[in-house]
């Protein structure tokens, strides 16, 4: 048997998995009530793609993701730069940050329901809260990793504090901020889907759960695949944007 060329390997394995999930339910090794043949799931997915339900759910999930990430970024980037550029401020808040950061944000779900109900606001609150910490920590790393020679040079050339922040600290922390945004984006999506699932805000998470409890297994799988694709697309888009925006940065050359 000839060896498969390297570039075909990924395709071969995807094909292999698809064939496996087509055949195993058909021959009865996997219970076809729980695992419908993959071709049926994919045709359900295709039906969803041309309809409007899926896109409404995707839109709702994306709204939570975007608002959560946006609010987190608007708060965490300035806060991180301010806290990180002063040693005293950093030291005095370090304990508080280290305590709040690992708190699982899902613990706040009940509080979110109490204050904001079960709509978009709850979702955004949870997504923003979780994404904020993920991003803040990266911004703090970035600001502290600024080359002291660069800061000192700027200082001796008579740059004011604000100028130093904007022209030295911010640009050199950008790769960290970009990484932070990528992590925060994933976190924001996870929390949006969680809120939809647990609280019942409209979006993909709730649609998946409704499909399951309604016994529509094919739809459930189709929606899970769609959610995975959404996650993949968002991540790929952010990586591409990061490469483009930071082309000038030495770390990306």
């Amino acid at each position: 048997m000839r060896r498969l060329p390297d570039r075909l390997l990924p395709w071969a394995s995807v094909l292999g998995v698809l064939v496996l999930f087509e055949l195993l339910p058909r021959v009865g090794i996997l219970d076809s009530a729980n695992f419908p043949p993959i071709s049926q799931t994919l045709s359900t997915l295709a039906g969803q793609v041309v309809g409007s339900d899926l896109w409404t759910a995707v839109g709702n999930t994306l709204a939570g993701w975007a608002l959560g990430l946006g609010i987190a970024a608007a708060l965490a980037v300035p806060a991180g730069i301010l806290i990180g550029s002063s040693r005293l401020v950093y030291r005095s808040l370090r304990g508080v940050i280290e305590f709040l950061r690992p708190v699982p944000s899902v613990a706040l779900i009940p509080l979110a329901i109490l204050i904001y109900g079960s709509g978009l606001q709850s979702k955004v609150f949870l997504a923003a809260f979780a994404a904020f910490w993920a991003l803040l920590v990266q911004v703090l790393y970035g600001v502290q990793d600024v080359d002291p020679v660069a800061t000192d040079t700027a200082r001796s050339f008579g740059f004011s504090r604000t100028q130093r922040l904007l022209r030295v600290t911010l640009p050199s922390a950008l790769p960290y901020i970009a990484t932070g945004l990528r992590i925060a984006s994933a976190v924001s999506l996870i929390l949006s889907v969680t809120a939809e699932l647990v609280i019942g805000s409209s979006g993909l998470g709730r649609s998946i759960n409704v499909a399951r409890s309604g016994g529509d297994v094919k739809l459930m799988y189709a929606l899970i695949i769609a959610t995975g694709v959404l996650g993949l697309v968002l991540n790929t888009a952010l990586v591409a944007a990061e490469r483009r925006v930071l082309r000038w940065h030495p770390a990306y050359r």
Partner: protein
């Protein structure tokens, strides 16, 4: 930083958190708002609920499920990562599947797990393991790939057996990366523990917190949130300490190489 500044910094490091707690205590002391009870009430409820009335009924089952899922993920992730790290072709073949499964937001898998595994403890363990395995797997792969070529070639030249090469060279050399994966995974495990209990459970901390909210037992709800916060902090702390201890040789080796 001068010595005086350092002392000031240490002082602030202790004073600010204490001050914030005091502020919470004072500001909430006369709170009539139903949703934000006085901190004093929350702490009293915390003592009544978690020391130690509900430890056996909720905390222990929660932690058992979390660690069971986590350990399964560690075994699968490290073994899978070592194997994939050693073979470039296997990596290429696995890449699209791993990338896709990892991209699915974990909670989206809960309905699937409920359908296939049911609503019992095994469902929660399954979901926790399924989600935690990816950061461990990917970090292990990166760690193995990153092993210095000199080290690889030396083991070849000396004819060290495959088993020894894997366990005594690759695994230790990759362990700093693996630990980074473990830390990500443990915080994921805690999150998934809470979500899985909120969606389908009859006990556990996540279940308790959501149930308290539904019955408007607000101080109980807050005490549960507080407990989860402390758990997150303690777990993270344990892993930082473990890492420092277990990887001391690594830091030592690097420091001596640099000096």
């Amino acid at each position: 930083m001068t010595r005086r500044q350092n002392i000031l910094a240490i002082g602030l490091e202790i004073a600010v958190p204490v001050l914030l707690l005091a502020l919470w205590w004072v500001l909430s002391a006369n709170s009539k708002t139903f949703y934000f009870p006085p901190l004093k009430d929350i702490l009293t409820t915390f003592k009544d609920t978690w020391l130690f009335k509900r430890v056996g009924s909720d905390v222990v089952p929660s932690l058992e499920r979390m660690f069971a899922g986590f350990f399964i993920a560690v075994v699968l992730g490290v073994v899978g990562g070592l194997l994939l790290g050693l073979s470039r072709r296997a990596r290429r073949a696995a890449a699209p599947i791993v990338e896709f499964l990892r991209a699915i937001p974990p909670p989206a898998l809960l309905p699937f797990a409920i359908l296939v595994v049911g609503v019992g403890a095994s469902m929660k363990i399954f979901v926790i393991a399924f989600v935690c395995v990816w950061p461990i797997l990917l970090n292990t792969i990166d760690g193995v790939i990153g092993v210095a070529p000199t080290l690889r070639e030396t083991t070849h030249v000396y004819g060290i057996s495959n088993r020894d090469r894997l366990l005594r060279v690759m695994l230790p050399a990759a362990s700093p990366q693996i630990f980074a994966g473990l830390r990500t995974a443990v915080s994921l495990a805690l999150i998934l523990m809470v979500i899985s209990e909120m969606v389908a459970s009859t006990n556990g901390i996540g279940y308790f917190v959501l149930q308290s909210q539904r019955t408007f037992a607000i101080p109980e709800m807050w005490s549960g949130i507080l407990l989860l916060g402390i758990l997150g902090y303690v777990l993270n702390g344990i892993f930082v300490l473990l890492e420092k201890r277990l990887l001391r040789w690594h830091r030592g080796a690097r420091a001596s190489a640099l000096s």
